[in-house]
Amino acid sequence: MASVAKEWREIPGRYNLQGTKCENCGKIYFPSRSFCPKCRRDSIGKMTPVKLDRKGFVYTFSVVHEAPDCNNRQKPYAVVMVKTSDDILLSGQLVDVEPENIEIGMPVRAVLRKLDADGPAGIIHYGFKFVPDY
């Protein structure tokens, strides 16, 4: 079972693609970082929240046939790297499309879906997945 507190901390990123931007060098990080590994101490106090564009395109993908329990009702399923319109690479699941119809370069958008649940009594984890953006 995942930590409830950890899940809660990740809500801004998982629901609304909130990352951070280093105001020193301009680099955007997702998931959020409190510190820019490039600017190091110069980034202290200069990491600001930034929301990524929910639209992008498939940069690359892979089809998963051996699924973890949380996805065993959706297999085979695709995991994708998506380049958002603000040029950030994100990884996630691509749903609502048959794997044979996925193409590199196809436009997609992030939507909120169930990722997993801590059994029938635990919390439900929601977060972004991608769907084709027709």
């Binding site: 809500i11 169930k114 059994g119 439900i124």
Partner: protein, 350 residues
């Protein structure tokens, strides 16, 4: 002060199943069943969809159409459903977080069988009209349940729509709302039970028809209107047959209810049904159009609304989100086995 709809958004999952496929499994003439109910296919949520995800999609489309509205000015979020994923833990907080409306706002989940969405619209009208909040969000959404083999399995589907209620830049003014409510046990689901039970034919005359016709007549009497004064009408649609019959009883024509009747194509989306029907009407509406709306929730009650579309709809960015017609394009049809897997009807090891 005029109170009305500032924006709306709608969502229906992409999967469908036809009544003949359900009937094939249970030894029933599904095609005849579908014809009797006037339901030719119903929507099915994918395994990773529930009321939270459906309500969020609808609410995000609603906000996309009003880019000038600051989500922090939303003072209330109500999600009406009878299939909230949690028994205790609000759907509304997750949706509110997903549209950046938190934290200076109130939120709650509502339940009144199929009319919890319109009950939310009424609550928002009160808050907005009394200037307690600037905007209120009311959502009706469901991933409704029907026991395997039960008549409900041919109709219970999934979908929802979201409404931003306010006083500024309203695309549709709500001239009046009123309700007709009694204790009528026509359909219920006890705490912890996976599927609802219903009173069979008892769900008709003393329940659906009595409440809808009473609320509708009260509204037309209060507004001194007749059916022909309205461009469109939307009635609750547990199947295609009931709203068609109630419209006729009240004196509305098939043309008036055409856009507001989605159930034949998507099934009964319960709390989402009237909000989705109204969304399809608004997709086609022009300034000056008058819309008559009456929802129904088992248990039982009806909320009636008299609505006039304003000139503001000409400036409204409807194109920023897909219309219902677009949402319903390219469905994927499931066989019963896949449907049962998607709906979690197959017992799996934890």
């Amino acid at each position: 002060m005029d109170v009305g709809i500032v924006s709306y958004g709608a969502y229906v999952p992409r999967y469908r199943i036809k009544p003949e496929e359900i009937g094939r499994i249970w030894g029933v003439d599904g095609k005849a069943m579908g014809k009797g109910l006037m339901i030719y296919q119903k929507s099915v949520p994918s395994p990773d969809e529930d009321v939270v995800t459906i309500a969020t999609e609808a609410a995000r489309d609603m906000m996309a159409r009003v880019p000038d509205v600051n989500p922090e000015d939303i003072g209330a979020v109500y999600v009406g459903s009878e299939s909230h994923p949690y028994a205790v833990k609000p759907t509304a907080t997750i949706v509110a977080e997903s549209i950046d409306a938190t934290p200076a706002m109130t939120a709650a989940d509502m339940e009144f069988a199929c009319k919890a969405g319109t009950a939310g619209i009424q609550a928002c009208m009160g808050l907005v009209g009394s200037e307690m909040v600037e905007y209120g969000v009311a959502i009706g959404a469901d991933t409704s349940q029907g026991a395997p083999g039960d008549a409900l399995e041919y109709s219970a589907s999934a979908g929802g729509a979201a409404y931003l209620i306010g006083t500024k830049n309203i695309i549709a003014k709500i001239n009046k709302t009123l309700s007709f409510t009694t204790d009528t046990p026509d359909f219920w689901r006890r705490e912890g039970q996976p599927y609802p039970l219903h009173g069979g034919r008892f769900t008709g005359e003393p329940a659906y028809f009595r409440h809808i016709t009473s609320a509708a007549k009260m509204m037309m009497e209060a507004m001194e209107t007749k059916p022909e004064d309205y461009t469109y009408a939307v009635f609750h649609q547990p199947n295609g047959k009931f709203p068609t019959r109630v419209a006729k009883q009240l004196g509305f024509t098939p043309e008036q209810i055409e856009y507001g009747l989605l159930t034949p194509n998507i099934g009964n989306t319960y709390s989402g049904a009237v909000p989705l029907g109204l969304a399809n009407v608004l997709d086609h509406a022009k300034p000056g159009d008058r819309i008559f709306v009456t929802s129904y929730g088992s248990g039982a009650g009806s909320d009636a609304f008299d609505i006039t579309v304003t000139n503001e709809i000409e400036n409204y960015k409807r194109e920023n989100a897909p219309t219902i017609e677009r949402v319903l394009e390219n469905p994927v049809y499931l066989d019963y086995g896949t449907y049962a897997k998607y709906k979690g009807k197959i017992l799996m090891s934890e």
